[in-house]
Structures are given as structure tokens and as C-alpha cells.
């Protein structure tokens, strides 16, 4: 018994998130352009999915329009950097601020309705954002989007140790890792804070939360704004990574995609959605090399997962771990 306890506390003491962060950070040193590309995409999408989970998993709000804030962030950053030549740090901050502002305005109306109506209203607002991006040719580039979004100026990274002989894409990956890492850290703090506990209480029983004196709508709006802000950061990073922003970023299928990542990974844990994002991105790249019918395969995989792993991938891993532990104890 004591032996098990020591192994448990020992494994608890390892900061697993940091270890994984370091492992992922080492991807560019594998020397493959493709791996860096894939890793960048996964990290950004993971941030997007984890931001959604603040609403979905922690507050119990099903947003069907989370792509709106992703798109707003992407467009804000890209327009500032490409059209106005604003340096990246300011554009990045502005992307978060803009996404936050829209999330507050839209969220103000959304949190007044519940369940399916909440989902529909978030969808309606997201489609408005999409329609504006799609039609406002002079600013957003309309249907064609904005291509050739410049990379941030990362020349200074070359003078850092270990980073000298790397490509721009690798430098950008390091930047993404740092920024996304900070975002994850902040989100983790939010979730673990008393504020985060309040959100969970609201998810479990909104009536009761209201009854004990919580301002339920206020908390929900705050969660909505925070989730939107971080989706905006993810969008800003993705636009540069993608070398272009397109109206599709705010389209409902993008919202559905991030919902799938979150549910697939498991909304019951903080890192579940990140696992889902990684799984989906890896699957997509693997399968598209074999067949052009990627949606078909994804659909089948989704159905199988739906019936085989009710708690998502993270949930399944968790139950395996509990079973192993019980097995060892027995």
C-alpha cells in the first residue's frame, strides 16, 4: 500500500504539462518541415478547443458559434499586420481585445437564453460575423480572404542559443509555443480559481447557484468573454500560421469542428480538448494522404468513438488508469 502511495505521489510531483510542453517544443529539432507544420497547427487548435471547453465543460454552455471569436481574432491580427503594418505584439493583443469586445456584446444577449436557444443565438451571431467577413470586400477581402499575411519579425530569435540555424516557420513555432503556453497557464489558473469553481457550480445547477446568491448571468458572461478572448488569440496565431485568413474561419462548420475536438477529447478534463485537437489533426493528415474521402472516414471514426468511448479520449484514458490502479491494489 505504502509503495503504491509513494509511486503515486512521485508521479504527481512531476509537472506533466511542463514535460509535454518541452517535448512538443523540441519538434523543430527533428528537422522535418512537416512535423513543425503539424505541431504548430495542433498547438493552435488545442488552444482554440481548450478555450471552448471553458464554456462547454466548465460552465455547461453549448456554444455553436465559437468560431466567430476565432475569426475575429484572425482577421483583426491579419488586417492590422498586413494592411496597416502594425507590429505583431500590438496586433496580437488587439486581436484578443477585439474578440473579447465582441464576446461581451454577443454574450450579453446569449446568456439571457438557455440550452438550445443559447446555442442557436451563438450560431446566429457567428453567422453574422461570417457574412460580414464574406461581403466586406474593402476590408476583409471578401470571399477571397486575405492572403500573404506576413510572419512577425522574428529575426532576433536567430541570435538566441539553439535557434540560430532555423527556418522562419520554426521560429514562429517557438513563438506559438510560448504564447499558447502562457494562454494555457492562464486558463488553467482561471479554471482552478474560485471563479472557476463558481462556473462549475453553475453548470451543475444554475437554479441553485442563483438561489445561493450567485449572479449566474454575470458569471456566464465572464466565462463567455474569457473563452472568446482566448479563441481570438488562437485565431490570430492561426491566421499567420495559415499565411492567410478566410471567411471560413468564422463559418459554422469551423464551430462544429472545434466542438467535435472538444467532445472527442473529453470535456470532463482540462487537457481533454487538446488531446481531441491533436487526434483530429493527426487523423486528418494521415487519412488525406491515403484517400480524398476524409470526411467519410472522419464521420465513421466519430460514430465509432461516440459508441465506444462515451467520455471522449481523455475519459477513456482516465478509466484505463483507474482500472490499472485498482488492479494493482487488488
Amino acid at each position: 500500500m505504502s509503495a503504491i502511495n509513494t509511486t503515486r505521489t512521485w508521479s504527481r510531483r512531476i509537472p506533466w504539462a511542463l514535460v509535454i510542453w518541452l517535448v512538443v517544443l523540441s519538434v523543430p529539432w527533428m528537422g522535418s518541415r512537416f512535423y513543425t507544420f503539424l505541431a504548430t497547427e495542433i498547438v493552435i487548435l488545442a488552444l482554440f478547443a481548450v478555450s471552448l471547453n471553458l464554456l462547454l465543460g466548465y460552465t455547461g454552455l453549448v456554444s455553436f458559434g465559437h468560431a466567430a471569436y476565432f475569426g475575429i481574432g484572425a482577421y483583426t491580427c491579419a488586417i492590422l499586420m498586413k494592411t496597416h503594418g502594425v507590429p505583431f505584439p500590438i496586433a496580437f493583443a488587439a486581436a484578443g481585445a477585439m474578440a473579447a469586445a465582441f464576446a461581451v456584446v454577443f454574450g450579453f444577449f446569449c446568456v439571457r437564453s438557455t440550452r438550445i436557444y443559447f446555442a442557436m443565438l451563438t450560431l446566429a451571431f457567428a453567422q453574422i460575423v461570417w457574412a460580414v467577413c464574406f461581403k466586406w470586400n474593402s476590408v476583409t477581402g471578401g470571399e477571397q480572404g486575405l492572403s500573404n499575411v506576413p510572419y512577425p519579425d522574428l529575426g532576433w530569435m536567430a541570435s538566441l542559443p539553439l535557434l540560430g540555424d532555423m527556418r522562419t516557420a520554426d521560429h514562429y513555432f517557438v513563438l506559438v509555443m510560448v504564447l499558447a503556453g502562457i494562454c494555457f497557464l492562464v486558463l488553467r489558473r482561471v479554471v482552478a480559481s474560485p471563479f472557476g469553481r463558481m462556473l462549475t457550480a453553475i453548470r451543475e445547477n444554475p437554479e441553485r447557484a442563483e438561489f445561493v446568491g450567485l449572479n449566474v448571468r454575470g458569471y456566464q458572461l465572464a466565462a463567455f468573454a474569457i473563452a472568446g478572448t482566448f479563441a481570438g488569440f488562437a485565431g490570430a496565431l492561426f491566421g499567420i500560421f495559415n499565411r492567410g485568413v478566410f471567411p471560413d474561419f468564422a463559418y459554422w462548420s469551423k464551430s462544429a469542428e472545434v466542438l467535435i475536438m472538444t467532445i472527442l477529447g473529453g470535456m470532463g478534463s482540462f487537457w481533454g480538448p487538446a488531446v481531441g485537437a491533436a487526434a483530429l489533426a493527426l487523423l486528418s493528415h494521415q487519412i488525406t494522404t491515403v484517400t480524398q474521402y476524409w470526411p467519410l472516414v472522419l464521420g465513421v471514426v466519430l460514430i465509432v468513438l461516440l459508441f465506444a468511448f462515451p467520455g471522449g479520449i481523455a475519459g477513456a484514458l482516465g478509466s484505463v488508469r483507474t482500472r490499472l490502479r485498482r488492479h494493482r491494489r487488488a
Binding site: 438557455t114 438550445i116 436557444y117 442557436m120 446566429a124 459554422w252 462548420s253 464521420g299 460514430i303
Partner: protein, 294 residues
């Protein structure tokens, strides 16, 4: 002031679009009303109806009434598929979070979209208007295709038939009871499972019928599923989820906003429609004729 014949033409084309949309959206609304499932794959069933009816007309050739046979055959085929989906997939998810049902229907969107692409390719397909309805006539100076007029009449007819079925028949009473309280109905000895399958089939039938009827007016292409599902959602949400007449009202409003929005804000009519949906939801969260969820 634009000339009146133009306004009449615009209103009628809006009304035609509205009735097409109503036929499809009513299926979505009925399924949501009874099963509480928001069926993302409804648009895919609509698309499948369009392709199936093209296939059947293709087989039948120039035989008389081939268009109508094809439309009914396609709708029946889609209904059958709907029955299989409900019985073998959806049924096992009722006890779980609504999200999983949504995920399943989204998976079906992906699968059916690709299945259509594999079977019929990606090129546009077209179907001729049925003989007898191929002409057009003049109304207040506006030229109205006879087929459009037929759709404008068919929409309300379907609405009234469905409403009579729901309000005047024994099965209709059971359906309404199931929408209120599933467990109670089951406890009273009704076969709720069969009722659900039936309702899902009915919804799929309407989707397939809508898809088949739209073929003479719009070209059949992959991607028509995504286009219609968003529109059908808007209609259902504006009218009130699960409210049958609400869907009818929502479709008419949608059609007119789209038809006249083009005059006010050319190019921004999609924007007008989404804005309308947002405004309705802000003022009446349950939609125009919907009841708030318990």
C-alpha cells in the same frame, strides 16, 4: 417607388423560396418537437432526396408522370434511410447528453456528403420541370412560372395535412403526448420507440420530398446540404423550435426578407437574415410562436 409588377414578382419568388424551405424545415421542426433531437443531417437527407429523384427520373426516361414518381420514390427512399438511422444509431443515444446526438448527426452529414460525391460525382445535375407545369402565366404584370405557383399552393396544403394528422388522428394525439412526456406515455403502454422511428421517418420524408421538388428550380450539387441546413435552422428558430405553424411563419418571413433585402442592401441579404434571427431570439428567446423549454 419601383413598379408594382416588380414588387409582386419579388414577393412571389420570395414566397416560392419560403414554401420550399417550409417543406424541408417542417421535417426538422417535427423531429425536434417530438424527439428533442436537432438533426444536423436533415440537410443531407434533403440533398439525398434531390439526387435520388434525379436518378429515378434518369431511369424512367420520358415516361409520363416520371417526375412525380421520382419525387415520391426519392422521398420514400430517404424516409427509409431515416428509419434505419433512428432505429440503429440515434436510439442508443437518447439517454445521453444532447451533445452526443448532435455529434452523431454531424458525423452523418460528413458521411452522407461523401457518399453522394462518390456515387454521383461533383458535376451539376439538372431535372426538367414536369410536363404540364413547364409554362408560366402573368399576374399583375409579373411573369410567374406555373411550377412556382404549384409550390406556393403545395406548401400550405402540406401544412394543413400535417396539422390535421397531428390534431385530429389517434397517432397525432400520441405524437403530441410523446412530445410532452415520453416516460408517461411509455408507462401507459404506448410503443414510444416505434413512434419515434415513425416521426424520424416522417421528418426524413419531408426532407427528401423538399429535395426532390427543388430539382427543377435549382441545380443539384454537393454542398446543397450545408446551404439548406443553415437556412432551415434559421426558419425553425425564428418560428419557434418544435412549433409547426411557427415554422410556416418563419419560412414566409425568411423568404420575404431575402427577396426584399436584396432591394435595400444588395449583397447583404444573407446578413439581413442572420440579423433577423438574432433580433427575434433576443426579443423572444423561444422564437415567434415557440414555448419556452421546461
Amino acid at each position: 417607388m419601383p413598379d408594382p409588377s416588380f414588387l409582386v414578382g419579388q414577393a412571389l419568388s420570395g414566397l416560392t423560396a419560403a414554401m420550399f424551405l417550409f417543406i424541408v424545415a417542417s421535417g426538422l421542426s417535427v423531429v425536434f418537437g417530438v424527439l428533442r433531437v436537432l438533426n444536423f443531417a436533415h440537410g443531407s437527407l434533403y440533398m439525398l432526396g434531390a439526387y435520388l429523384s434525379w436518378q429515378i427520373t434518369h431511369w424512367l426516361g420520358a415516361a409520363t408522370g416520371s417526375f412525380w414518381l421520382a419525387a415520391l420514390g426519392a422521398a420514400a427512399g430517404v424516409a427509409l434511410l431515416g428509419g434505419l438511422i433512428e432505429r440503429f444509431l440515434l436510439r442508443y443515444l437518447y439517454g445521453r447528453d444532447d451533445l452526443y446526438q448532435l455529434l452523431l448527426t454531424y458525423a452523418l452529414v460528413l458521411i452522407l456528403g461523401d457518399a453522394v460525391r462518390i456515387t454521383w460525382g461533383t458535376q451539376q445535375l439538372t431535372v426538367q420541370r414536369p410536363a404540364g407545369l413547364a409554362g408560366s402565366f402573368e399576374l399583375f404584370g409579373a411573369v410567374v412560372p406555373t411550377y412556382n405557383f404549384f409550390i406556393i399552393v403545395l406548401g400550405p396544403t402540406i401544412a394543413i395535412v400535417c396539422w390535421l394528422l397531428l390534431s385530429r388522428t389517434g397517432t397525432g394525439r400520441m405524437i403530441r403526448a410523446a412530445a410532452y412526456d415520453r416516460e408517461m406515455l411509455a408507462a401507459l403502454g404506448a410503443d414510444v420507440g416505434r413512434l419515434y422511428t415513425l416521426m424520424f421517418m416522417a421528418g426524413a420524408f419531408l426532407a427528401g420530398l423538399g429535395g426532390a421538388l427543388v430539382t427543377p428550380v435549382r441545380s443539384i450539387v454537393p454542398g446543397m446540404d450545408v446551404e439548406i441546413i443553415v437556412e432551415a435552422f434559421i426558419v425553425v428558430v425564428i418560428g419557434g423550435l418544435g412549433s409547426f405553424w411557427g415554422t410556416f411563419l418563419g419560412a414566409i418571413i425568411f423568404g420575404q426578407v431575402l427577396a426584399f433585402g436584396i432591394l435595400v442592401l444588395p449583397g447583404f441579404s444573407i446578413f439581413a437574415v442572420f440579423a433577423l434571427m438574432a433580433i427575434v431570439l433576443i426579443i423572444r428567446p423561444a422564437g415567434l410562436l415557440g414555448r419556452p423549454l421546461a
